[in-house]
Subunit: 364 residues, 2 copies
């Protein structure tokens, strides 16, 4: 930020506390990240007496500025409690740095519910957004290696206009986060036929199809649970209840399989030998398929971007989340997203007026 | 059925047609089944000219009686079409044999939507059931190897009383199908805390907890997607939209992993060697974790039990579905289920009256 810089340095806000393992993996992750990105500045929020020696030991003082916040949001704290009493926590402080525009993007390993609640009251919903969403990355057969799914659990409900907003936000995230110029968007349902599913899905189907040209995405129509890891689609739109169940079902299935695999290999001498040969492939596989390794659920639809890193993320996981934060900050994602969402809102209003009668006749 | 039998022979009704591969795997599956169960009688519905030589060739005439039905429900036929024009199909004929009590349980590999629609109009809903459900088996860490999940997609909606009925039906199925005396039942939600989830889930939570003693199951409370394959629970209750998405997400995840595994093993000479050693373990694993191999979605809540076998089931899959049918028929499942459901209905009414005011005050 000195006068000789041709452009302002990128500044990210990182909550050092609140993860399952405390600040150690966060600082280690920052060290990994800064090795590749030495010019990025970090505002690190947490207890100064704890953090200062860790930063000094890793010699990160040139890039990291500690912002003292004495308190920590526990994993068991209720969001409502944190909203009322959390002003002195590192999480609150980290979010506020985005609010005041000192930093572009915030990263926290803390309690998801509290992080969403504090983000909502401090950053406020972006214009045209009724329900913000959490977008997660889903391991897939696509070249990028991942699909985007939203909402992964910010809200348990979504009506047709929320689903349209999710489509716009998800496409913008896939463009800026995964580098896909024209993402393919699908709407999660119990079948791909047009007559299937709940009433709000049929309306959303029409709204999203019409928004596709303006949103610069391709709408592939209804998709099913089996398409979440597929090549058919880049962005899967659903309500936060269904999305959360799907995400946890995918994790549970992946864990069951990899555990069974380990048992299968441990069963006999021959299979133990084969495990020796296969172990590195299996480790890579486990990394690929366990959605928890895909670190960084992104809160979309607020006046500022917040990334939720997994509570038990290790240094590699934290580095992945901070790298994603840097990428989104560089692409000017927050502003681009705001523009998309505002256009989605006007689009939904247009179609409401235009098609109110025909929708009713056809779908109810 | 000769006069010298001490008890009436078990009779099952099997739809020979309508699967992806036609009648061949169905007849082959029956041959497998009858090797272990020579005393069971089969009513096999389909085109007599096609089936007669297949039955003769395998020498199954002593057990199998062909019921001629000239037409076949295609996988692409809409349920509404089959309901109006399907009277001459093998599926209709197979269901009608349960309706007339000629057979105890019906098995079909045909189109799920049509099978449910025809089952509904021919068998009718059991007393006290508003929405019938499809129960599927989910590979799990439990000793039985499977958990029960319902509804897997019979209906896209379920209110609190439907969810209570599902709990009673699922527990009865786990008792009679998996041999669990006192099944543990959980209600699928986005978190295990009592304050989480949609309004109808909070009401269902109370209803199911109170029904547990009478239903002779243990209610473990809310469970998450990750618990579907877990040891925490034997029966997972959810609406058919969420259940269907979860089922297909589990399948898609399992397929992604097993395909990645095959690629990992094909990558290098060393890994090819290890694959040779490991292949049989991997094959067993794939069978275990791919929910499609768990053959037999059971329609619950009708006046008669119908088992949906996977459309692409091979002989082993068909044999598994028919074995399940025999087990349920022997346990007198249809009558036991009807009794459970009737008691659930009266239970829900009781609690409605008793708690209408307190529920409203607490949950809305």
């Amino acid at each position: 930020m000195s006068g000789s810089d041709t452009k302002a340095a990128l500044v990210l806000s990182v909550d050092a506390m609140g993860g399952d393992e405390g600040p150690a993996p966060v600082v280690a992750g920052l060290a990994l990240f800064l090795r590749d990105e030495p010019d990025v500045k970090i505002l690190l929020h947490g207890d100064e007496a704890t953090l200062a020696p860790m930063i000094a030991k890793r010699d990160l003082g040139h890039a990291v500025t500690i912002v003292h916040a004495p308190d920590v949001v526990a994993m068991t704290d209720k969001p409502s409690h944190v909203m009322r009493h959390g002003k002195t926590t590192s999480m609150w402080s980290a979010i506020d740095a985005v609010r005041t525009k000192e930093a572009s993007v915030c990263v926290s390993c803390g309690n998801t519910g509290a992080l969403m609640a504090v983000s909502m009251i401090r950053l406020r919903k972006a214009e045209g957004v009724n329900r913000p969403a959490i977008a997660c990355l889903w391991p897939s057969r696509n070249a990028a290696g991942f699909n985007v799914m939203l909402d992964a659990g910010a809200d348990i409900r979504a009506d047709e206009e929320d689903l349209l907003t999710y489509a716009m936000m998800g496409a913008s995230y896939a463009r800026n986060g995964l580098g896909l110029k024209r993402p393919r968007v699908g709407l999660l349902n119990v079948g791909v036929e047009e007559h299937k599913g709940r009433a709000e899905l049929k309306v959303a189907h029409e709204l999203i199809a019409r928004a596709a040209p303006k949103g610069e995405f391709e709408y592939v129509g209804f998709v099913e649970g089996g398409d979440l890891p597929s090549q058919r689609v880049d962005v899967v739109v659903t309500d936060g209840f269904t999305g959360n169940v799907a995400l946890k079902t995918g994790e549970g299935t992946a864990n069951l399989i990899t555990d069974s695999l380990r048992e299968a290999f441990a069963a006999t001498v021959l299979s133990k030998m084969s495990a020796l040969f296969a172990m590195s492939s299996l480790k890579r596989l486990r990394k690929k398929v366990d959605p928890r390794r895909v670190n960084g659920g992104v809160f979309l639809g607020l006046n500022g971007t917040v990334i939720k890193s997994h509570g038990s993320a290790d240094a590699t996981g934290v580095a992945a989340a901070v790298t994603l934060a840097a990428q989104l900050a560089r692409s000017g994602f927050t502003d681009k997203l705001a523009a998309r969402v505002a256009s989605a809102a006007s689009l939904a209003q247009d179609t409401d007026i235009e098609d109110a009668s025909s929708e009713t006749a056809k779908d109810t």
